[in-house]
């Protein structure tokens, strides 16, 4: 039998264990955060500093690092780009185009793979994983050859368009996988109810299934957007016309030669480049964290 004193001792023990456990968990979580916080901290501090700094404390607060928003972007004294905004436009085009295409493809493909039984469904699903594990660089030359053959290489806007298509093609399989999981979680009965209520298969998909997997679509949209926004390799390889350069390409060009580097401007430039990612995550972290369908009882 355990006495009252015994119970108190046991409770104390449990509390101490809990405390130690928490300390261990939080320390482990915090370690990888340190370099990230240092990097972002420096970026923000440098973007608003008048001189080059090597700590997290901004000096000579100024906004002049953001001069490129209103005029040409200089590189060691010479203007490299006439304006910042076409770069933003191109990057947005790439990101939004990729997103739209990816969402259109994956929401249909994910549904089909989740709901229809057809020959070769399992091999298809497995091959997605295998193919995805092949580095995309391997396709660069083959794709270059294809683009050249159909006359889309180095054709300005058309090339950007083809980059969008290539990007969407590379991204879609994995997101199809992801959405398949979401579609799987929609109970058959809901779809049947829709069919009995007077929907065709397509209307049932559009009016009942799609709204239910909105969190999944949101997640895919964000990932696709950010991946398009950050795309570098494809743009570098295929886009030759400076008019259609994206932010990632410009950023890399600006850091090209060490002696010309303007750290203040670069930090400001990078900060703005990071902005969409931050905004997206702030706005949608609620959805990203609850990647499941609620409000269904059964």
């Amino acid at each position: 039998m355990i006495t009252a004193e015994g119970y108190r001792k046991l409770i104390w023990k449990a509390k101490i264990k809990w405390l130690i456990g928490n300390i261990i968990v939080y320390s482990i979580v915090c370690i990888p955060l340190v370099p990230i916080i240092l990097m972002y901290g420096w970026l923000i501090a440098q973007a608003f500093s008048g001189v080059c700094i090597s700590s997290l404390i901004p000096q000579k607060l100024t906004l002049k690092n953001f001069y490129f928003l209103t005029g040409p972007i200089y590189w060691g004294g010479t203007p490299l780009y006439k304006s910042y905004w076409p770069l933003v436009r191109n990057t947005l085009l790439l990101a939004l185009g990729t997103t739209g295409l990816v969402v259109a493809i994956t929401s249909l493909a994910g549904y089909a793979i989740s709901r229809f039984e057809f020959k070769g469904r399992d091999p298809l699903l497995k091959s997605v994983v295998v193919v995805h594990s092949i580095p995309g660089v391997l396709f660069l030359i083959a794709l270059m050859y294809i683009l050249n053959t159909i006359g889309l290489y180095g054709k300005g806007f058309l090339t950007l368009l083809s980059v969008i298509i290539i990007k969407a093609g590379l991204e879609s399989p994995m997101y199809t996988w992801m959405l398949k999981g979401f579609f799987d979680s929609v109970p058959w009965e809901l779809e049947w109810a829709a069919l009995v209520d007077g929907c065709s298969r397509f209307t049932a998909w559009r009016k009942v299934v799609m709204p239910l997997i909105f969190p999944g679509i949101a997640a895919v949209s964000i990932f696709a957007f950010l991946s398009g926004w950050g795309e570098y390799l494809l743009v570098l390889t295929y886009i030759t016309d400076r008019k259609w350069y994206t932010l990632s390409l410009a950023l890399s060009e600006l850091t090209y030669q060490f002696k010309h580097v303007d750290y203040g401007m670069l930090a400001a430039f990078s900060l703005l480049y990071l902005l969409p990612a931050m905004i997206f995550f702030l706005l949608t972290q609620k959805y990203l964290m609850t990647m499941r369908i609620v409000a269904y009882k059964g």
């Binding site: 069919l195 009995v196 209520d197 409000a295 009882k297 059964g298």
Partner: protein, 374 residues
């Protein structure tokens, strides 16, 4: 209005035969219950009637027209699913209005119809809520409303009460029955609860492992079960089954139950001999048909003597009081027998009682085929 006919209806999922050669006719305006344990193919049958599953074999007829190629949306059936299947992203109003919106009815008419059916089912105050904010009973009513609002020709309900608590279930049982009678819609009601089927349906089709066992009105199902499965499934507590065999001594026939014998008249003995495949039989008797007395009553004789009522002495093993009645568990040989005793008898464990077997209330089954032989 519509009558439904199922002809050789069969559905296979790979190797599993969910529904096997089902023939059934549901009359116009009839309330038909599909009754059977979980996994016997009730839902599959329902989904084939709704047009969601294509039968592997056989056909579904509405008013004698084969509807195999009619898509679900054109069948004008209203369906209530076991999980209710309310659209979680729509408010109650939009849930109910959904079938009407798909028919492209004018907005005013939709609002009017939704309001009417919602008031009818007493959920008018819930129209602005999301399904997640409803209780089980309310969700159930919304599902009913959504099925009824389009004025279906056929009303399908798949275990609509199984997710409700016991008290609400009793209330809804009566309400759904009243609703069906008032609207006169041909209704197919799936349930695994024999009480639901018995209390609500005009006729009951009992299914087991995809095979139709018996289709009859409730009384007939109770009084004349076609086989042991139906006998055991209908009624609560379930029918007692006692192994026995037919024997003949001195030109009289007896059912030999091991620990005792029951005399049977020649006409029953003839029937048994004619219908049974062998001498191995099963005696079935309902707990409420076995009369319990504390002494041998005047109209009865001891088991084995020529009499319509024969009694056997036995000891009480366990008692299960039900408030009004009490279920007496007693042992005949190794078999546990349940008897429902009226409130006038308040026995105690270990006491000796008389079990009165009435020849008119006994069911005899063939042990091998499980079919009723008398």
């Amino acid at each position: 209005m519509v009558k439904v006919k199922l002809e050789h209806l069969t559905k296979r999922f790979g190797k599993v035969v969910a529904v096997n050669d089902l023939n059934l006719e549901i009359k116009d305006g009839e309330f038909m219950a599909l009754l059977g344990p979980s996994g016997c193919g009730k839902t599959t049958t329902m989904l084939m009637i709704a047009g969601i599953y294509k039968p592997t074999k056989g056909h579904v007829y509405f008013n004698d027209v084969c509807v195999d190629d009619l898509p679900p949306k054109d069948r004008n059936v209203g369906m209530v699913f076991q999980s209710y299947a309310l659209y979680p992203h729509m408010k109650v109003f939009d849930n109910i209005a959904f079938p009407l919106k798909l028919k492209k009815l004018p907005k005013d008419e939709i609002r009017e119809k939704v309001k009417k059916v919602a008031d009818f089912l007493e959920i008018g105050h819930l129209l602005d809520r999301k399904p997640a904010q409803l209780s089980g009973g309310q969700m159930q009513r919304v599902a009913l409303a959504r099925a009824l609002v389009k004025e279906p020709d056929i009303f399908l309900m798949d275990e609509p009460l199984s997710n409700l608590d016991a008290k609400l279930r009793v209330v809804m049982r009566a309400e759904i029955k009243r609703l069906q009678k008032r609207l006169g819609i041909t209704t197919i009601y799936v349930t695994h609860d024999q009480v639901e089927a018995m209390t609500m349906a005009d006729r009951i089709a009992v299914l087991r492992e995809g095979v139709l066992q018996q289709c009859a009105v409730p009384d007939e199902l109770y009084l004349k079960p076609r086989n042991m499965f139906v006998g055991g499934f209908i009624g609560s507590p379930p029918m007692n089954f006692l192994d026995c065999s037919l024997v003949e001594e001195n030109h009289e026939h007896y059912l030999d139950l091991g620990v005792f014998k029951l005399w049977i008249p020649p006409d029953i003995a003839d029937l048994i001999m004619k219908n049974a495949s062998g001498s191995e039989l099963v005696l079935g008797i309902r707990p409420e048909d076995l009369k319990v007395t504390l002494t041998l009553p005047p109209e009865a004789k001891e088991a084995g003597q020529k009499s319509k009522v024969q009694a056997i002495r036995s000891e009480i093993y366990v008692l299960e009081p039900l408030g009004k009645d009490v279920i007496i568990n007693t042992k005949l040989g190794d078999t546990l027998v349940k008897v429902v005793a009226p409130p006038t008898i308040r026995p105690s464990v270990g006491e000796t009682i008389w079990l009165n077997f009435d020849l008119d209330k006994m069911h005899v089954f063939d042990k091998k085929t499980e079919l009723a032989v008398v």
